[in-house]
């Protein structure tokens, strides 16, 4: 996995570099250089392979089922790019060491740079397309970091975001394209893709595939109309521009063109799309570059233009054009990187990059000027420079392609024009900066840069020259393997030489040189004209409008949809439910009424139903007369329980009745603290709309109920009726279902109840409400808080009620009743004490006595071995209310009502004036008993909650049943008592909070 390692090293190196920076600034530069060299060293031994015509593919399974594997490929093209990335990378590392100022963090810069380098290497060495895309996106991300390196600058932030957005767009599109390729080919491996070129080109999805991939390419390589991000990315430090925006990242796009050339090129679509975009970019970039006053801006547009040139070459689809493209990639990387570095030096030494201020630098930095001039000459395509050679090939291809077509002169003319502009802006770069009189008020006095800052430029400039003069000897072999890697086919016949004789291409070059010089001479009127007209066209404006529009649209959608109104949410939900419920019926074919015969109607039911309907309507109509609505709600509850009784559900009726009362008490408690007068309805339309949807919902449920009721059905109920007695040991089937067949539901249900209690306790914390001093009509409350007659009588009721509760609890298994109802009865009996005698009085009395009756002994002796609460009256509890939480000491334990609840010493110290009964132990006991009953069955090798029962025969008492389910029911009972008390006493305790108490956490 050498290739994998070579890619991995820079990533690992990023961390190393960041760490090294803690030890010293130069150290991180050294580390970065070392990392680059290491990667280079790893690849170098493999370099001969492509030269020998071999393609190295290394593969490691990752997600084989999905066709996504770690696969790396080293062929000529990959080798060329890897060399460029690492070689120029090394120079950049060196250059940046001197470029960055004291204030800039070296470690961060080099770490980002290494990340980028690794990503870039990943792209070029990928064999798998998806893997390639992963690295592709990584370059976007790391370039975001690099561009925004000077994050305090507005331009850097904006530029970085714009670059990310545009290249991100391309990345996502390209993902789509690659997926389509994978779909067509059946593999993401390049080897397979290359082999399936014809398959791809003939596939109906070819055009979408091509467009998606080209979107990726064009955005990355700044092709028109996505070119605009590149100039803004110039806010990055110059080494970044030199590296990313000349040699590497922007080349990723054209790399991909080269990479997929064998698979995608050769169709008219390819030709028109690619060469069209290339040509447009070539012209546009060259034109705009001339008018940029910022040195880096000029270079950026020049880069755009040259990328257009390369794109155009690949678009031409001939092998020779592809070779020329590859060649120009190499040449452009060398001269443009050196120019960027030169621009950086100028910026660094002169303090500005504005060409309106720069001039005459020749006298201050002649050496740098020389280097820059050579590189600029290469950019302009002056003979003896490498730029000339590839441009020659380009011109030749342009002519060749255009030959024989109608209007065949257009393309050669246009490219010559672009060449002329290239000459003009190169001239401007040289003349304006280094000559053209004396410099005007520069921030610094310019001088030559440090030795090692120039070195990278020197290396590159020498390369420009060497290649330009003796191409066949120098770059020839590399170009050959790279081109072979691009074409994945035998190379066309071409000849690398400085002199090809007087041919059309040479003529075009000469014309371009002459025209370029003329353009530069005519620059003043041209500049003026440009300022008046085209300069006002800025691609950033539509981009910003687009982004702004998107954000605005997003805001609009979000605000329109999410108004923060609960009513709207509920409305939408009900509307959705109605839609979902109604849609199936439109298909027809299902009658609403089934074939089951119904029961006859009787008068009592009619009266009751009428009362229920009227009471419901009254509740709705009078909902703003709150107390009255509460009373009518009570009627509704009563009639509902009557219905349960009528239709053979005594258990339900009992439950409903108890719940009903507790709910009313709760609502009364709430009513006291809520505004007594409701605000008026906002508008009638709202009411009408709500009424309409409410009626529809009502009609819907009624129809649903009717549809089910009139249909016969098969049910699993028979099993329960048969097995209740023999299997569950009880004759009340509902109760047996609850504690046995579906005891798990019940366990969950009591957990809900316990959670409600606990949640309410948590919610009540810090809750301070001021109780109104007058009632709705403005009357002062009655002075008598605890009417004697009520208090006395309710005290008598308590033991009676407890007795009834025990009775209901015990019989539950066989007759209507059970833990839940018994628990509610107990809780209600205690609540009445609160009602009649007050919280303080009741709490005092509950502290020392268990609020529940001691369960009869035999209930605890079944399978459940746990201690019954008989032995464990809840221990006294100090107030858990947070308001009194000032006591820092550990609040006395409460907890497991242990058989010997000896209170800790010192407990009384923080017992407030009004002790509050703590129901937590009850809750814990209840849940604990229920859970433990379930767990106990494990001891007998049965699943959770398996019940058991038996019959005991005691003297005198006689035969009676003992069932583990009864213990479970006891747990239910305790939870209900605990939770209900917890809720009600918590609420009842609210008023004790002194109004205006400062909240404390």
């Amino acid at each position: 996995m050498t290739l994998f390692l070579a890619v991995l090293i820079p990533f690992a190196g990023a961390a190393l570099v960041a760490l090294a920076s803690r030890l010293g600034r130069s150290l991180s530069a050294w580390a970065a250089g070392g990392v680059t060299l290491a990667s280079l060293a790893l690849l170098a031994p493999l370099a001969p392979l492509p030269f020998a015509g071999e393609t190295l593919v290394q593969q490691q399974d990752w997600m084989p089922a999905l066709g996504l594997n770690l696969a790396f490929r080293l062929d000529g093209l990959a080798l060329l790019f890897a060399g460029l990335i690492l070689g120029i990378g090394l120079l950049i590392v060196l250059y940046a060491r001197y470029y960055l100022s004291e204030r800039d963090s070296m470690g961060r810069f080099y770490a980002y740079l290494m990340l980028f380098m690794g990503s870039m290497l990943g792209i070029v060495l990928s064999e798998n397309l998806i893997q390639l895309l992963i690295f592709w996106e990584l370059t976007s991300l790391s370039s975001f970091l690099l561009i925004s390196y000077w994050q305090h600058r507005e331009g850097a932030r904006r530029g970085a975001r714009m670059a990310l957005a545009v290249t991100g767009l391309g990345g996502f599109a390209m993902l789509g394209g690659f997926l389509l390729i994978g779909h067509i080919v059946g593999s993401y491996e390049l080897s397979d893709v290359f082999a399936s070129g014809d398959l791809i080109r003939e596939h109906p999805l070819y055009v979408p595939t091509l467009i998606l991939i080209l979107l990726g390419v064009f955005t990355k390589s700044a092709q028109f109309p996505f070119h605009f991000w590149l100039p803004h990315a110039m806010a990055a430090p110059t080494p970044v521009s030199a590296y990313l925006h000349s040699a590497t990242m922007v080349k990723a796009g054209v790399f991909l063109l080269a990479r997929l050339w064998p698979a995608l090129s050769g169709t008219p679509e390819w030709f028109w799309l690619v060469s069209g975009a290339g040509l447009a970019t070539l012209l546009l970039g060259a034109y705009v570059a001339l008018f940029k006053h910022d040195l880096k801006g000029l270079l950026a547009y020049s880069t755009i233009s040259h990328l257009g040139l390369i794109t155009l070459l690949f678009g031409l689809s001939t092998p020779l054009a592809a070779v020329a493209g590859v060649f120009h990639i190499i040449n452009h990387a060398t001269f443009k990187a050196s120019l960027f570095m030169a621009a950086g030096i100028i910026d660094h030494e002169a303090g500005t990059r504005d060409m309106r201020r720069l001039s005459g630098l020749w006298q201050y930095m002649p050496y740098t000027a020389t280097l820059a001039m050579v590189a600029a000459a290469a950019m302009a395509g002056v003979p003896l420079m490498n730029g000339f050679l590839s441009k020659e090939m380009f011109f030749a291809e342009a002519v060749h392609i255009a030959e024989g077509h109608l209007g065949g002169w257009v393309l050669p003319a246009l490219v010559t024009l672009a060449g002329a502009f290239a000459v003009a802006y190169s001239l401007r770069f040289i003349h304006n900066v280094f000559f053209n009189g004396e410099p005007a008020d520069l921030p610094k006095t310019p001088h030559e840069p440090p030795r090692w800052m120039k070195a990278p430029v020197e290396v590159l400039v020498v390369l420009c020259l060497v290649v330009g003069i003796a191409p066949a000897l120098t770059v020839g072999p590399l170009l050959a393997v790279a081109a072979a890697g691009t074409l994945q086919a035998p190379l066309p016949d071409y000849h690398l030489a400085l002199w090809h004789g007087f041919n059309t291409a040479l003529m075009m070059s000469l014309v371009a040189l002459a025209l370029g010089a003329t353009l530069y001479l005519l620059r003043r009127p041209l500049f003026a004209w440009h300022e008046r007209t085209l300069a006002r066209l800025d691609a950033r404006v539509p981009y910003n409008a687009l982004v702004g529009g998107l954000v605005g649209l997003a805001g609009f959608i979000t605000r329109t949809f999410d108004t923060g109104s609960l009513q709207r949410q509920v409305f939408l939900f009900i509307l959705a439910a109605l839609t979902l419920g109604l849609v199936p019926w439109f298909a027809g074919g299902t009658p609403l009424t089934g074939g089951r015969a119904g029961l006859p109607l009787d008068a009592v039911s009619l009266v009751a139903a009428a009362a229920l309907i009227l009471a419901t309507l009254a509740t709705v109509v009078w909902h703003r007369r709150r107390f009255t609505a509460l009373v009518t709600l009570g009627v509704v509850g009563l009639v509902v329980s009557l219905a349960f009784i009528k239709f053979s559900a005594p258990d339900l009726a009992l439950t409903q009745l108890s719940v009903e009362i507790v709910t009313i008490v709760l609502l009364l408690l709430a009513l006291h603290f809520l505004p007594q007068h409701a605000a008026p309805e906002p508008d009638r339309a709202r009411v009408g709309r709500d009424a309409a949807i409410a009626l529809t919902a009502g009609a819907g449920t009624a129809a649903l109920a009717w549809a089910v009721l009139t249909r016969p059905y098969d049910t699993i109920a028979g099993y329960f009726l048969e097995n209740s007695k023999p299997g569950g040991g009880g004759t009340n089937v509902v109760n047996v279902i609850l504690v046995d067949f579906r005891g798990y539901d019940t366990l969950g249900e009591i957990t809900v109840l316990a959670l409600a209690g606990l949640g309410i306790v948590a919610l009540l914390q810090n809750l301070r409400l001021t109780a109104p001093l007058r009632d709705a009509a403005g009357r002062v409350w009655d002075a008598d808080a605890h009417p004697v007659i009520m208090a006395t009588l309710t005290r008598i009721l308590l033991p009676l009620a407890l007795m009834v509760a025990v009775f209901i609890l015990l019989r539950g298994h066989n007759q209507p009743g059970g833990g839940f109802i018994a628990g509610l009865i107990t809780a209600v009996a205690l609540i009445v004490q609160y009602l009649a005698s007050g919280a303080a009085w009741t709490h005092q009395r509950m502290r020392a006595s268990p609020p529940h009756p001691n369960p009869p002994p035999h209930a605890g002796e079944g399978a459940n071995a746990g201690p019954t609460p008989t032995a464990a009256p809840p221990s006294p509890q100090p107030s858990p209310r947070p308001g009194e939480g000032a006591n820092a000491g550990p609040t006395p334990t409460a907890a497991p009502p242990s058989p010997q609840p000896s209170p800790r010493p010192g407990e009384g110290a923080n017992a407030g004036p009004t002790p509050v009964y703590d129901s937590h132990p009850l809750l814990a006991w209840g849940l604990g008993i229920a859970t433990f009953t379930g767990l106990a069955s494990w001891a007998f090798d049965h699943p959770f909650l398996t019940s058991t029962f038996g019959y005991l025969n005691w003297p005198v008492v006689g035969k009676f049943e003992v069932a583990s389910a009864m213990a479970f029911d006891l747990g239910v009972f305790l939870v209900v008592v605990g939770a209900t008390l917890m809720i009600l006493t918590g609420l009842g305790g609210l008023h004790r909070a002194e109004p205006g108490t400062k909240e404390t956490r």
């Binding site: 009417p787 006395t792 308590l798 033991p799 007795m803 009834v804 005092q844 609020p851």
Partner: protein, 165 residues
């Protein structure tokens, strides 16, 4: 004794209650009822701190008899009044001065009044000395007060309060 059996009367009543609840008279039910009758008072003893002592059981029984008859009488009376129509009624509020002092006795009196002919106890003064009674159809308020005091208050005082004060 008090520690072991805080409220013997209550215990007995509860045992009876249990038998009524289970609606059968068997040894098992009796044992369980007695057990509960013994245990529940423990649980609720804090709610009933004071001993309830009953003297003059005979008086109590006679009172209960009078009470039962009066309930029936009262119901018929009220039923008649209702059927006769609302216009014939002569409602009034009457204040009954109280001789009773314990809460229990006062409460029982108030309840008795409410259940018997045409009267409902409406309000007890804060000092517990006067009971305001609403009557449905009153001719002579003073006579009513006298009847209440003689017929209900006196026996209750005998049963619950004699010797206490």
């Amino acid at each position: 004794m008090r520690r072991l059996l805080p409220h013997p009367l209550l215990s007995v009543s509860l045992t009876l209650l249990w038998l009524l609840l289970v609606n059968e008279l068997s040894a098992g039910a009796l044992v369980l009822g007695a057990l509960l009758g013994w245990l529940i008072p423990f649980a609720t003893s804090r709610f009933w701190p004071e001993q309830i002592r009953i003297r003059h059981s005979g008086v109590l029984l006679r009172f209960l008899g009078v009470f039962a008859v009066d309930i029936v009488r009262g119901s018929f009376h009220v039923a008649g009044l209702i059927l006769k129509g609302p216009t014939r009624l002569r409602p009034a509020f009457v204040e009954v001065p109280l001789d009773l002092s314990t809460d229990l006795a006062i409460s029982l009196l108030a309840n008795t009044i409410s259940l018997t002919p045409g009267t409902v106890s409406a309000r007890l003064s804060v000092d517990k000395r006067t009971l305001v009674v609403h009557t449905l159809d009153t001719g002579d308020a003073a006579a009513l007060v006298a009847e209440i005091k003689q017929r209900y208050e006196a026996p209750l005082k005998q049963v619950f309060e004699e010797g206490d004060a």
